[in-house]
Amino acid sequence: MESGVVILIGLFFSVAVYLMLSKQLVRMLLGIAILGNAVNMLIFTNGRLTREVPPLIPEELYTPAIQTANPLPQALVLTAIVISFSFFAFLLVLAFRAYQELGTDGVNTMRVAEPEDDQTPPQGY
């Protein structure tokens, strides 16, 4: 049951990593967005897949009558979706502001923290 989705998840990861290895900040952000989806599906699939039966308890019963989808990974992923969204929104604005201030979106030219002609510490005794 899971194998098809699992292979799709692998594809998600590959595309996310490929985009994150780009020199351009915007494409890295696209990669991060896809990575979030990949991780969410990974957690979801780890709890095994059950077709079309949401984890709900019927009105008249105290426990589910039939085998439902696994509720635990759903709860975890629900939290994860929201957090990865806020993370993504923050990064997006950060990238936007960095571009405004530095005038570039090339990750290799953003070198305020580690300037190119950085001095090495003294050597010897």
Binding site: M1, A33, L56, A75, A89, V93, G106, R111
Partner: protein, 794 residues
């Protein structure tokens, strides 16, 4: 004989120097250099305490005492007293008494004298803890403490680069050996299950029977050879002469450097008397002996001459310990005792000459005998003992060790020849040190030389006279000191019958005469010898000392290069390295452990399910190839909505709704931001880079796919999920189990999530509101203006 348990007084005796180390700076502030007198009482009292053990120990009794330290790991502060540890404890406290006095005179008026006393006492405590240590772990800790205090003392004059280098070198070499020793001890503990030395010694074959003898042997030797400066680790010891002379006399001749020899002697019943032992130890010891004496002849600095003969003497001790032959071991014990006395005295003499005459270069000294008669007398007595002439303890030691090596069947002849050559050269140095500065015409020295104060000559006089006294009562010396120590080495009670004068004309006497003759010949030719050794060394042009510098420089340069490679300030390098190792981490274990999943069968999805998966894949592909901003954003939306549909298909409507919402918002924000940026959305990677990053990305994806396949093919533990299904309605009164988990069972988790969202929102707000004024540009690297975007994209 099982060791008797004694009270804790001896444990406190071991710790007393640490207390003295705390008091010393205050005492020195109050009494100036005269603080040496009361401070010297501490080692003197310790010495007295240990003299109480001489009698019982000589009858073969042993003692233990212990205090729990970390009992859950079997680590105790425990001591073991037998002949060997008693001899060492007496040497450490006895010589220590005079070193404290000597330091009082030598560093008189030095602003840091209190600190110096403090370090000396710390070392004394560490050394006592080492030689008395019964628990292997506490023994190791004291072993390392001696290295650390040695580092502090060598680097005492921390403003000179040579001191700092020597201190660092000593720490690296002995500390490295200490790590080997720790590994050896841990192997012993895990292989035998015993941690107390006294228990191990009770069954001598316990290590040889484990099958781990070879690694344990190598690791223990690694510790002993570095500490006792055996070739090729000898180079740190002469450099340690940068330390003030009291340190050289105490640590680097009489006590600390003997810790390695102590360890070999201590472990002799456990590790000794094997073919490996009787081959490796005499070989390294012999080479060290010859190299040490030859290098000593070459020197003109008094301290360096003595330092190299210390290396040589340590080599001799290791060589003799390596024979595992009873008589030779007896010679080793005697020589150990003799060496501590005469070398300690000679170092102090060298220091006094340096202190009073202003130089210790032998070519600039002469005729000091009338100015410094007491120091001259002490130097003569000590040098005669070092030269191995009667009636001194050095002579007795040499007779016994020749007797031993001559009688050793396996390698007796080469070892004897090595010993004769080494001793002859040692005689040369002894003569040079005692005669050259004092005899001959008076030479003008940088300072007007006169006799040092009593603090300075008390030590050399007492130690050299002891060397004479112990020889005159040779029989008692044998009974009280040598016999019990030899018993520790042999593992059985052994009697020793010593006498000063040879009873007959036998091989040792003849060897002694040869040694003396050879020594005198060499002494007359000392300048030629010095020139020959010097020219040989120049032609080699490389030594381990130079090698150490090269290694240090290499490590510094190498780490600099590696840092510049791994942290070159380029984001892309960091990403590439991170994902290469991620790929390795997810792929490798599956291949190594055979945990690869079985080939999955084609899942029985319905056609629309296949369709949704396919749409997701198309969305991904479109993001990759999109060459306009709008296409990229729309493609991102496609894969996001496909994910929402997948959640829907597999019974997660809540997730699906959330995903729809979030994905819509993401696309909207992305469109807002990307339209503000004048950016090229398409990816202009060169073909090579595209293939390289593609392989990395593919490997990560493949690794995670295989891992996830393996996980989903394994049986599933439903206990947690069942718990929530069971109790969702009954105790939390909710029918939507997912919602109940979020707001009830894991409510605090959700609170944290909300906090994250709020914080992210605040940060976004802050980023948008905070702006640098246009007239005040932010600090960018001035040399490197930002490149135009179009150029960067290529």
């Amino acid at each position: 004989m099982t060791p008797a348990l004694i009270d804790d007084t001896t444990l406190y005796a071991v710790l007393a120097p640490f207390a003295a180390a705390v008091v010393a700076p205050f005492a020195t502030r109050w009494l100036k250099h005269n603080a040496a007198w009361p401070l010297a009482l501490v080692p003197a009292l310790i010495f007295l305490h240990f003299t109480g053990f001489i009698g019982p120990v000589s009858h073969g009794e042993t003692f233990v005492a212990a205090k729990a330290w970390a009992p859950s790991y079997g680590v105790n502060f425990s001591i073991y007293i037998d002949g060997l540890s008693t001899l060492f404890a007496l040497l450490i406290s006895g010589i220590g008494t005079f070193i404290i006095l000597y330091a009082g005179g030598y560093l008189k008026g030095h602003p840091q004298q209190g600190r110096f006393f403090s370090f000396l006492f710390m070392f004394m405590g560490a050394m006592l803890g080492l030689v008395l240590g019964n628990n292997l772990i506490s023994l190791f800790i004291f072993w390392e403490l001696t290295s650390i205090t040695s580092f502090l003392l060598i680097g005492f004059d921390s403003l000179r680069a040579a001191s700092r280098r020597a201190a660092l070198q000593a720490l690296v070499v002995t500390g490295g050996g200490g790590l080997a020793l720790l590994a050896g001890f841990i192997l012993i503990i895990s292989a035998t299950g015993e941690i107390e030395m006294s228990v191990l010694l009770a069954s001598p074959d316990i290590i040889k029977d484990t099958g781990l003898y070879l690694p344990i042997f190598i690791l223990v030797l690694g510790g002993a050879f570095t500490k006792s400066a055996q070739f090729p680790f000898h180079f740190w010891l002469p450099n340690a002469m940068e330390a003030p002379t009291p340190v050289s006399a105490y640590l680097h001749s009489a006590t600390m450097v003997k810790a390695g020899v102590y360890l070999l002697m201590r472990m002799h019943p456990l590790l000794g008397d094997t073919t490996l032992w009787t081959t490796v130890l005499p070989l390294f010891g012999g080479v060290t002996l010859i190299i040490g004496t030859l290098l000593a002849v070459r020197q003109t600095d008094l301290k360096l001459m003595l330092a190299y003969t210390t290396v040589a003497s340590l080599g001799l001790l290791v060589m003799l310990t390596g024979t595992s032959h009873e008589k030779a071991l007896e010679g080793a014990v005697l020589y150990l005792l003799a060496h501590s006395l005469f070398k300690g005295a000679l170092f102090m003499v060298a220091g006094t000459i340096d202190h009073e005459a202003g130089t210790r270069d032998i070519t600039k000294l002469g005729g000091l005998r009338s100015a410094m008669p007491i120091t001259f007398a002490a130097a003569c007595l000590a040098a005669l003992s070092m030269a191995g002439l009667p009636p001194f303890i050095g002579f007795v030691a040499k007779e016994v060790l020749y007797y031993g090596t001559w009688g050793w069947l396996e390698l007796g002849i080469p070892v004897t020849i090595t010993a004769v050559v080494g001793n002859a050269l040692m005689l040369v140095i002894a003569a040079a040190v005692a005669i050259k500065p004092f005899m001959g015409p008076k030479v003008e020295t940088p300072k007007h030389a006169h006799e040092g104060p009593v603090l300075l000559f008390a030590g050399p006089v007492f130690l050299s006279v002891t060397g004479l006294g112990l020889a005159l009562i040779a029989h008692t010396t044998g009974e009280l000191f040598v016999g019990p120590t030899l018993s520790s080495l042999m593992g059985v009670q052994t009697e020793v019958d010593l006498h000063l004068w040879p009873t007959a004309i036998n091989a040792p006497l003849i060897l002694s005469l040869i040694t003396i003759g050879l020594g005198i010949v060499c002494f007359t030719q000392i300048d030629r010898l010095r020139a020959v050794v010097g020219s040989v060394l120049t032609s080699i042009g490389w030594g381990p000392d130079k090698g150490f510098d090269q290694a240090v420089a290499g490590i510094v340069a190498g780490s600099g290069r590696f840092t510049r490679f791994a942290q070159n300030g380029k984001m892309q390098t960091y990403m590439v390295l991170t994902f290469i190792f991620t790929g390795i981490a997810v792929l490798l274990p599956g291949f190594l452990t055979g945990g690869l999943p079985a080939m999955p069968s084609l899942p029985d999805y319905r056609f629309y399910e296949w369709g949704i998966l396919f749409i997701a894949a198309i969305g991904l592909f479109a993001v990759l190839v999109a060459d306009t901003r709008l296409t990229a954003i729309v493609s991102l939306g496609i894969q996001g909505f496909a994910v929402a549909l997948i959640f829907m298909m597999f019974g997660a409507p809540d997730l699906s709704f959330t995903q729809f919402m979030v994905e819509t918002l993401s696309v909207v924000i992305l469109a807002l931001v990307m339209t503000r940026l004048n950016l090229l959305p398409s990816d202009h990677r060169p073909k090579g880079a595209a293939i390289f990053t593609g392989i990395i990305a593919g490997a990560v994806g493949l690794g995670l796919t295989l891992t996830l396949l393996a996980i989903t093919q394994a049986p599933f533990d439903t206990r947690l999920s069942d718990f929530f299904a069971q109790y969702s309605r009954t105790i939390a009164h909710g029918r939507n189990i997912v919602n109940v988990i979020i707001v009830d069972f894991r409510g605090f988790d959700t609170l944290g999530e909300i906090a994250v969202v709020v914080l992210a929102g605040l940060c976004v707000l802050a980023l948008i509101r905070v702006r640098t004024r246009p007239d005040k540009p932010i600090e960018t690297p001035p040399t490197k203006p930002a490149k135009p975007i179009a150029e960067e994209a290529h």
